[in-house]
């Protein structure tokens, strides 16, 4: 039967290239955003987060850019390695009407990254 997974956005890169994974979010009241990596058969693994009052944050080999004007988030991975092959999810943490947030993350659908040696 058809697998919904086949409809996930995919990105294929060569080892050593830079990768850019994009995400559109919906809630302008979200106070932070997170990128997660999920390998097959495992739980999501935290990569990096960015607060809504920032537009760029760098980690080890990764950079996250936030464009609040168009509600867009991107994850850049430098010198991509075969071990980076996984599904990447962005998630947003919306505040409630009272301005409180409890980490009730809303996840995007995900992007499959395949790195070829």
């Amino acid at each position: 039967g058809e697998s919904v997974g086949l409809h996930l956005p995919t990105l294929s890169v060569q080892e050593g290239d830079n990768s850019i994974i994009n995400c559109a979010y919906s809630n302008s009241a979200s106070d932070y955003f997170i990128w997660y990596k999920q390998e097959s058969g495992k739980g999501p693994q935290f990569i990096i987060d960015i607060r809504s009052n920032m537009d760029k944050r760098q980690g080890q080999r990764v950079t996250v850019l936030l464009n609040k004007t168009v509600k867009h988030l991107s994850l850049q991975i430098a010198a991509t390695q075969p071990g980076d092959s996984a599904v990447y999810f962005c998630a947003e943490n919306p505040r409630n009407a009272g301005g409180t947030s409890y980490g009730k993350l809303t996840f995007g659908q995900g992007t499959i990254l395949t790195v070829h040696p």
Partner: protein, 112 residues
Amino acid sequence: NAGVTQTPKFRILKIGQSMTLQCTQDMNHNYMYWYRQDPGMGLKLIYYSVGAGITDKGEVPNGYNVSRSTTEDFPLRLELAAPSQTSVYFCASRKPGVPEQYFGPGTRLTVT
């Protein structure tokens, strides 16, 4: 630290059966969460807890119940299993004020 542990890893249920998915964390985190992940999709929040004795609904709570009697444990209960509950279930925890949620390895549940 073992982090977040979940049991069982796999389970097959018949329609109408019930079961409890177990989740334990040893990091003394106040916040705990249950998510489900359907094939090819992101995670959806079922229930969450901000501390022992306090739980609240997430985006997709129907058909599930939770309890939080201790800081460490956050079990998820399915009372009358339905095929629509076939999914992979993830438990997560975090400290207040810190965005990072630590996820368990998941429980793959099939209801037939």
